[in-house]
Symmetry: C2
Subunit: 201 residues, 2 copies
């Protein structure tokens, strides 16, 4: 069976960099944006729309009863989300069948559980995440520190909702991972030889 490493990560924790470097070091395939691209191809939706569907709160799409009033049921949005999740599952499984790989996000730890993945969660303190976001050019660079912190929290809130909706597990809860790595005050590349040690002698 191929060796699969899945990476859950807080926004701004450097989890993506960690995954990419770890894959490079081990000579494994690396999948991140490639998953969205593949879902877009299979579903004939645009990459941007696929990302938008993933980023939306799944709970908000389902009907809520308040007194005797039914909230509006946005059927096509539910269908799209289900379709995206179904493609996500198929894409991840075909990646896992193909070769050793590192997969970032996408509920891969849960979806690929039969492949016995090594499950890493990457996190950091608030200030450290802020600094990492500032260090890279993003669409959010014009935001004040306060607003950027709020944005970071919000991204994670959506990740948590998507994960919990589809897996029934709590995102970032230690019981779901083999190892949790704090990247505050540490150079990501210094962590790679340690993590790689689980896969290479």
């Amino acid at each position: 069976m191929n060796k699969i490493i899945t990476i859950g990560r807080e926004f701004g924790s450097g989890g993506r960099e960690l995954g990419r470097r770890l894959a490079e070091y081990l000579g494994f395939e690396y999948y991140d944006r490639e998953i969205i691209t593949e879902i877009a191809k299979r579903s004939e939706m645009s990459e941007k729309y696929v990302q938008q569907v993933i980023d939306s709160d799944p709970h908000s799409l389902f009907p809520i009863t308040i007194g005797h009033t039914f909230a509006y049921i946005n059927n096509y949005a539910i269908d799209h989300q289900q379709e995206v999740y179904r493609h996500n599952r198929d894409v991840l499984k075909s990646m896992a069948e193909k070769s050793n790989c590192v997969i970032v996000g996408s509920c891969a730890d849960y979806i690929l559980k039969d492949y016995n993945p090594y499950k890493i969660f990457v996190y950091a303190e608030g200030d450290s995440k802020l600094a990492r976001c500032r260090a890279r050019e993003t669409e959010q660079e014009h935001l004040s520190d306060k607003k950027l912190k709020k944005y970071i929290k919000n991204v994670d809130k959506n990740r948590a909702r998507f994960y919990e909706f589809y897996t029934g597990n709590v995102w970032g809860d230690k019981v779901n991972y083999d190892i949790m790595v704090n990247t505050s005050n540490v150079e990501i590349k210094k962590l790679i030889p340690m993590l790689a040690k689980m896969f290479k002698d």
Copy 2:
């Protein structure tokens, strides 16, 4: 400055074994029961009593007002706990000054923060902790699974209370540690080369 590794651990997670093996592998000193022995020596209390003071809930020693009634204030118990904590701090600091070392428990991650320790937290799923407790002979081996699980939870509850009382931090909360290691379904000794990689090339 010496290299210090501190280990917080859930009861039954094998954190002590992990610490001992890691110290052996790295050629570092290992401190666990030795801390209690040293506190007992310095305070002229018995080891058993020192352990008992550490295991008691610090909050229960402080007065609570209910209506106009003051609960009984157990002064000597407060004094002993403060004394034990003071010795614990001094003992840990002298250990950290002496040589590279691995220290299990004792709020070492907090007390030695100026020594920049590498902070590990070891945890596992409930069934895995139960199995680890069953595998070693202990005073609790006669307990039913249900009672043993309750006992395990209780030990951790007291550890959490002691830690939180003296550090103001939440025991087992990922923000307080550099790495969190899940020992469910894994041989402890297989984790050692990975962890050691942070300290040895």
